[in-house]
Amino acid sequence: MTDDLVARIREALRVVIDPELGHNVVDLGFLYRITVDQGDVRIVMTATTKGCPAAAFLREGVAASTAQVEGVRSVDVEMTFDPPWTPSCIEPAVRSSLGFANVN
């Protein structure tokens, strides 16, 4: 049941894109951890650059679209830059289409 909810949340979060990279936060590997406790959802996520004004909107966006998922009672989103995001977090299929060197 919990796994199912996490899967549905991840699916819902595909609508949230990083405006710079143009891909959704799921494929980009921005979501570090999603934990669910009886409908109370806690998400730990990151963004490419600390202090970037888009990061605040990303966080809000993740919270907003999670809240719309059926079965979610409350959402708490934490933004962290530790560990920092690197392109190796990206889904391999998406990585080359973004023009990232594979060595990273």
Binding site: I17, E20, E60, V62, Q68, F100, A101
Partner: protein, 447 residues
């Protein structure tokens, strides 16, 4: 922090700045000021300050209001100072230009305009410096690029102080001491303005923007501190040493030579830092803004080489106009235009689609621009700037006017692209304005 992430008046600063740029370019194309008139002629001063204050300083202030809070991770000290500063600067610049026209005999007597202008400009810049300085102070100790901004703001204060002194002196109120500074100290004012305020600030901002938009690791703090130390030494030696030399009636030669040596070291160190950013970037494909910024960096390198060649052949004084033109239009304006192209798209995206994120599908920032079209205007811009520099070096005034006309056209082309971005004209339906989003206003941001 959402409301605090967008600066309401940054777009207004940009709009006014670009208007001054186009006006200055059109005047150059019409043959007003240098090279038809002397470098120090009143007409030239009109153009110089339209470009230095109207275009470059306004664009820089607008960008800093948005950028410094991002840099230090704290909201701007007081957003309500942005608009009064814009009004004071615009009024002050208008009065300054009128004062220069009086000085050149194009307007009837009214030299009191100069001290009035200096007072308005000083008040406007004081608001900017205080607002930004207090923002950095909130986040003390300042980090990396914030140091560059602080050094830039200190240089701005020095520039304005000297300019104010000149203005009083030219209006006949300065007394003997100020007269001495006016007689030989103009290079100090120009170096503090173009070199200290505009160049050091642009360097600091570029470190952060380049690493953000190319996903490159930040420049090592030790390295950028060394770059800044060399740059501050160049400006400090030029201004403080210069004033001392003027007071001692010793001539500026040695002081300016020492400042130039520090200046060259700064450019070399900065070149090393920027090369590392491009080399270590994780995003391989360059966007238009980072490609065009590279032409700005190339112009800076070319200006450094040109400076060395002119000094070596003893012809720097004869060609200082060409040198300053390349610094102002190739390096500073080139970099600012390239970054504006990105910043406008980015801020427009945040303003329009940021609040809809997670609720609706949104376009990418890149969907707001048409780089293919814009790159042609940028290419025309840089080629005409380099052609203009060459025509000045070879004393071809009419070729220069042609180059200025082409620059005007290219700038207008870039502006049209910026307006299309603001109007979301290139965003494909149905993503353009889904229900619940509002189109942005052209000249300011809703926050």
């Amino acid at each position: 922090m959402i409301g605090g992430t967008l600066s309401k008046w940054t777009m207004s600063y940009f709009a006014i700045a670009i208007t001054w740029l186009i006006a200055a370019e059109a005047l150059m194309a019409a043959g007003f000021g240098f090279p038809a008139a002397d470098v120090a002629a009143a007409d030239t001063l009109v153009i110089v300050h339209m470009v230095c204050i109207g275009w470059l300083s306004m664009a820089m202030c607008g960008a800093l209001f948005q950028f410094v809070p991002v840099l230090v991770g704290k909201p701007l000290f007081d957003e309500r100072w942005e608009l009064p500063a814009l009004v004071l600067l615009t009024a002050g610049l208008t009065a300054l230009l009128a004062g220069f026209l009086v000085l050149g005999g194009r307007l009837p007597a009214g030299l009191w305009l100069l001290p009035l202008a200096a007072t308005l400009l000083a008040a406007g810049f004081a608001l900017v410096v205080a607002d930004l300085g207090l923002t950095v102070w909130r986040a003390r100790p300042p980090v990396g690029p914030a140091h560059f901004v602080l050094a830039g703001l200190v240089s701005l204060c020095a520039t304005v102080a000297l300019g104010t002194g000149f203005a009083w002196s030219l209006s006949g109120h300065g007394g003997e001491e100020l007269g001495k500074v006016l007689a030989t100290g103009v290079p100090l004012h120009a170096i503090a303005g173009l070199g200290g305020w505009l160049t050091l600030t642009a360097m600091g901002v570029s470190y952060r923007l380049l690493s953000m938009f190319m996903l490159a690791p930040d420049v090592d703090g030790k390295k950028s501190r060394l770059t800044l130390a060399a740059g501050s030494a160049a400006i400090g030696v030029a201004v403080a040493g210069g004033l001392f030399a003027i007071e001692a009636e010793a001539g500026l030669g040695i002081v300016l030579a020492a400042a130039a040596a520090f200046g060259l070291a700064t450019f070399a160190l900065y070149g090393r830092d920027v090369a590392a950013l491009y080399r270590n970037r994780k995003r391989r494909q360059l966007e238009l803004n980072t490609k065009m910024a590279a032409y700005g960096f190339a112009s800076l390198a070319a200006a450094a080489l040109l400076g060395i060649a002119l000094v070596a052949t003893g012809s720097f004084a004869a060609h200082v106009g060409a040198f300053a033109f390349l610094v102002a239009f190739g390096w500073l304006s080139g970099l600012v235009l390239a970054k504006l192209y990105k910043i406008v798209a980015f801020l427009t995206w945040l303003e329009t689609y940021g609040p809809a994120m997670g609720r609706l599908p949104t376009p990418r920032v890149q969907d707001l621009v048409a780089e293919g079209r814009a790159s042609k205007w940028f290419a025309v811009y840089f080629v005409s700037v380099w052609g203009g520099t060459a025509s000045l070096l070879f004393g071809q005034a009419s070729v220069f006017r042609g180059a200025a006309a082409v620059m005007t056209l290219a700038t207008a082309g870039i502006v049209q692209e910026l307006i299309r971005t603001r109007r979301l004209a290139d965003v494909a339906e149905p993503l353009r304005l889904p229900n619940g989003t509002q189109p942005p206003c052209l000249l300011y941001s809703r926050t």
